[in-house]
Subunit: 188 residues, 2 copies
Amino acid sequence: MEVVAAVADGAEAVSEARRLRPDVCLLDIRMPKLDGLEVTRVLAGPGVENPLRVVIVTTFDLDEYVYGALRSGATGFLLKDSGPTLLIEAVRAAAAGDALVSPSVTVRLLQHLAQPKRAVPAMNDPLTDRELDVVRLIARGRTNQEVAAELFVSLSTVKTHLGSIFAKLGVRNRVEIAAWAWESGVVS
Amino acid sequence: MEVVAAVADGAEAVSEARRLRPDVCLLDIRMPKLDGLEVTRVLAGPGVENPLRVVIVTTFDLDEYVYGALRSGATGFLLKDSGPTLLIEAVRAAAAGDALVSPSVTVRLLQHLAQPKRAVPAMNDPLTDRELDVVRLIARGRTNQEVAAELFVSLSTVKTHLGSIFAKLGVRNRVEIAAWAWESGVVS
DNA sequence: TTCCGCCTCGGCCGAACGGACGATCCCTAG
DNA sequence: CTAGGGATCGTCCGTTCGGCCGAGGCGGAA
């Protein structure tokens, strides 16, 4: 691991990075002249031909910064309290094309990923496996006839399952079933 | 850091974890009797009163496992090729209530986070504002009659708009409209 | 002014949907 | 053995959906 450059502001970061083309760039967010996120967009953003690996290292862990950085093309996000071990691991990961994010940031990321589950009113009466099969197909826009064909059952059976699903979910038509499926993550 | 127990299968994991209540549990996914994900759900899943911190350690990095684990309540996901450094950091993070995910898994997670945008096939012919109004209501499960009432137009008008939407999106029924609306972010 | 796109309505009709019954089979728990 | 739940099928019936016509008003662009 070799440090090939150290710069003082965002503009310098861009020019030096383009000249030296390092394997990994460590960037702060708060920098003079050019924001760290803008630098990231220029060096690694969507549409860049030879994107560099960028790891954001900052003390600000605001959600807006995190999502902004990751959308800008960053392959890592470290808080400065992470300690040297994680910093080294993050550089190694970035060089390998992977991404390492600070644990305290990751936990919030995961909450965003994991919670589209229980946004739904609850489910006193869970759906059976077969009913979930029907839900998944309905949510994709299949008609009852098509569902019957794909599940190798009769139209009557599909309608029976649909009746149970209506009662359990407390909905009135198939579109509400689809909406529930998308909200609860049954389909994606 | 002290190892208080090591067990051979999922059922044993649950009973020992409940008896000893360790700060952190390391779990494999492939285990006899009880799946690692099921164990996670029992020990740390949604609705558990005193959830334990669970870190999944596995060689299988299939996406279904990752999302399943995180939805089940895991606060970490490590691949067995991560090396001892990351394992230790993951345990520390879990004990602190944070979460550490393997870099090679994180990079895929970030890709899913960074692009919830243009997954839709395209749109040669964009919907008009009025048609979008209809789409939004349809996607929430309203009937044509209800849409007409909420938009202060007649049933015929709603059906006309629906016809245009069908043609523009290339779909065949209202549920596919709803699915498109969810995928494209028109509704959330 | 003459188009053209958008929004607004109406009628007709076949297909699909959803509700309300009842019925059989199988498996598991008590 | 019996009871219950899940999955499977069927019929009847009223409502809704979606397609296919046509028509008028209204605003901007040619």
